[in-house]
Symmetry: C2
Subunit: 148 residues, 2 copies
DNA sequence: TATTGTTATACTCTATAACTATA
DNA sequence: TATAGTTATAGAGTATAACAATA
């Protein structure tokens, strides 16, 4: 029911309870992500962009698909990141129209720091769980996400 | 590790696996939330605003706290919602400075529809889990969130 | 013709700083 | 002085529509 993390509603059915729990959890986790991004002077979208580029050199259109954004939005996103020397646009070999985006050393350093900052925050969230509970949670979420 | 939902990284430790799972899950759930909001011509923030107002009549400052926004941001947010007759600003009795924000019938209808649209989407996400697994997941997430 | 990416434009969202009015 | 809220301003983020270049 709740679309807000501080709205602790009394779920009336098991289904409602699940929807509530996942929505609420997503807000709490996203807040941590946004704070980590902000601490590195990045928006959450910029951080996601860098995260994607860590092990890929995608075309603009592929970035748009992965980020669920319009191609024109990605143009601006990459432009701003490029201005900060976090990414670089390169000509796509073999297709005169295409561009591929590559992360720079600066960008890589930034995303590494952000990732390092994220872990303790997310782990702190789960401090009320035992080690066994945490591993059960990981297993369930992995199944839910279709990841084995 | 992953800051992006489509980045299925091989977590190297149980801690990394937990951070990955929760981050990934949060993106997937937020995508559903954003799509539901968009289907009702709302941003996720506007939907959160309405969600808060369902059972409250808060002051602007309280809204800012709940939404993790600056007061000036809330001014614009409420203004746009008011322009669409989704909320109404009222004078706070007993404090000439204060304002309280109330959801309108239109707003309530909209948020109800959005909530109804969200449930099947989130439930579909968890279709790979058994009923018992879903209830375990709810219990673990509730503990994590400190909600008993 | 279709695809890739950009540009032009217009909004929403957000924060900072300065302001007004009330307490 | 302190608090509640707004305004002015600036910038990021986003989409739609129209465009150029290439395929």
């Amino acid at each position: 029911m709740s679309t807000h993390e501080q709205h602790r509603s009394a779920a009336t059915s098991p289904d409602d309870a699940l929807v509530d729990a996942l929505a609420h959890l997503s807000f709490v986790v996203q807040l941590e992500l946004a704070e980590v991004a902000a601490a590195h002077d990045l928006s959450l979208t910029q951080l996601r962009l860098l995260g994607i580029l860590v092990d890929r050199t995608p075309a603009m259109a592929e970035l748009a698909t992965r980020l669920h954004l319009d191609r024109s939005s990605v143009t601006g996103l990459v432009e701003r990141a490029e201005k900060r020397d976090l990414v670089r646009r390169e000509k796509r070999p073999g297709d005169g129209r295409g561009v591929q985006v590559r992360i720079t050393a600066d960008g890589l350093r930034l995303v590494d720091h952000a990732k390092a900052a994220l872990s303790p925050r997310v782990l702190a969230l789960s401090s009320t769980l035992t080690a066994r509970q945490r591993s059960t949670l990981v297993a369930l979420v992995s199944t839910l996400l279709g990841g084995a």
